[in-house]
């Protein structure tokens, strides 16, 4: 449930109503930023947020994202090494 996608805030469109323009792969839509607005709205520009039904619900924590990706990369590389080793073993065994 709860389709949400990352979009980048590219402009503030209505300070009073807390509206900003978000962009996803070149597609723009005005979204409400009430849930992610702390301090001046300008500060949101350039930030990435999780967009759900026209609301920016949560700012994306780029550090956390990087950490997760690193874990994934490690796992992927470990597995690749394992597979290469297995392939090497197999080759040696003449399979």
């Amino acid at each position: 449930m709860c389709l949400g996608i990352p979009g980048q805030i590219v402009a503030i469109t209505d300070e009073a109503r807390l509206m900003a323009m978000a962009q996803v792969s070149g597609v723009r839509r005005e979204v409400n930023v009430a849930c992610v607005a702390e301090g001046p709205l300008e500060g949101l520009i350039g930030q990435w947020a999780l967009i759900h039904v026209g609301f920016a619900m949560s700012l994306i924590d780029e550090d956390e994202a990087a950490k997760t990706l690193e874990t994934l990369r490690d796992l992927g590389e470990a597995q690749e090494t394992l597979e290469q080793m297995a392939a090497g073993d197999a080759a040696l065994a003449g399979e």
């Binding site: 709860c2 996608i5 792969s25 409400n32 619900m57 994306i60 924590d61 956390e64 994202a65 590389e77």
Partner: protein, 378 residues
């Protein structure tokens, strides 16, 4: 797509799958005696089938598809009430597209629209608000549907309407909450779950602690997960690891989006606008205590139930569940969709009988559409 494509990397997936296989082997999970992991959220169900994870994953891991699709669990009586409102003269009834095809006892919103009701699909409650501004002589009702993820958006829309003094906007509130049905499932004597994948976007709003009782009181692990395929695999791995290590904790795989304590503004808006109903009916699961929200009395002017005297504010009609529907058994993990005697016969996406065939997030619909189970059934 930034923050999305990176989490669809096949190489990372291979690593995760191998690791999952290793841990699953370690705890002795087999096809015959699998670990049962419930992905609560329909979005996760959708990802599993869209990326074919069910076929990639170690055979000792079995996904149990949970009740986390707000469209699927919407009871037929509630759809009837939507239509009752939508068919009132002067009403513009607005809804997310998902809800259009859900059958009521007589018809769906799609059919009601065909019969003449002014029903419009919107992308956001904000669009409904805008319609209300532009149509001052019409009554614009928004079909508020969804879990905690979506609840803040309708709460904020109601607050905004109140600020603007709009008198022709109201919400038909069907917001429901995730923890309560999970508790209900855990209390089910037939329950055979070993762990949970938690809905990431719900926790983005409520944080991860509302699930503490699952670990604490029931000794089951839960990992809050993102929706990309490696998110899901990583979360499965985290659940398995807890099982292997004999732990039962609430963990957060989706920390890039989910703050531990959720979103303050969202929670405040929910608290301002909504209160818990004593109980709410779930399709396939029946009435569940405190599982639904209603609009607080001081926002009664924006409550379509009050405004039109329907639903819990009016005469509620008891609607019998359809006969032969095994949705409850599927949602509690006792049965696979293909085991339901109706699957692909009395129940297809064209003409759904039970809740889980209704939306593409429903387990049965996903099995049907993506799963290849269809060929056998047809």
């Amino acid at each position: 797509m930034k923050f999305a494509s990176e989490f669809r990397d096949p190489k990372a997936a291979k690593g995760l799958l191998a690791e999952i296989a290793r841990v699953a082997g370690q705890i002795g999970a087999t096809r015959e005696k699998p670990v049962h992991i419930m992905e609560i959220c329909g979005g996760h169900t959708h990802s599993i089938f869209r990326y074919g994870l069910d076929k990639l994953i170690h055979e000792g891991v079995e996904f149990i598809h949970g009740p986390g699709c707000p469209v699927c669990v919407l009871p037929r009586a509630r759809v009837d009430e939507c239509i009752q409102i939508a068919e009132k003269p002067g009403v513009i009834f607005t809804t997310f597209g998902d809800a259009m095809r859900v059958p009521g006892t007589k018809k769906s919103l799609l059919q009601a629209k065909a019969d003449g009701a002014d029903i419009r699909m919107v992308y956001s409650p904000l669009d409904a608000l805008e319609l209300a501004r532009r149509n001052p002589t019409r009554e614009v009702v928004f079909f508020g549907l969804g879990f905690e993820t979506t609840t803040p958006s309708t709460a904020l829309a109601i607050q905004q309407a109140a600020r603007e003094g709009l008198t022709n906007f109201s919400v038909f509130c069907n917001h429901i909450t995730v923890p309560e049905p999970i508790k209900a499932l855990l209390d089910d004597p037939h329950m055979c779950l070993d762990g949970f994948i938690g809905p990431g976007h719900v926790s983005m709003v409520i944080g991860i602690h509302p699930y503490d009782f699952i670990a604490r009181d029931y000794g089951k692990p839960l990992v809050v997960a993102g929706f990309e395929p490696t998110d899901l695999l990583q979360s499965v791995l985290m659940v398995l690891t807890q099982v292997a290590e004999g732990r039962a904790e609430i963990e957060n795989q989706y920390a890039r989006v989910v703050p531990e304590h959720g979103n303050k503004v969202s929670l405040a808006a929910i608290a301002d606008v909504y209160e818990r109903r004593p109980s709410f009916e779930w399709r396939g699961l029946g009435e569940i205590d405190a599982s639904g929200l209603r609009i607080r009395p001081h926002y009664a002017a924006f409550d379509a139930e009050e405004k039109f005297g329907v639903g819990y504010a009016g005469m509620r009609t008891e609607v019998e569940e359809v006969e032969g529907c095994a949705c409850g058994a599927v949602m509690t993990g006792r049965m696979k969709p293909v085991q339901c005697p109706q699957f692909g016969k009395g129940c297809t996406p064209e003409m759904p009988l039970g809740a889980l065939m209704v939306s593409s997030e429903g387990a049965c619909a996903a099995y049907w559409q993506y799963g290849g189970a269809r060929a056998a059934a047809e």
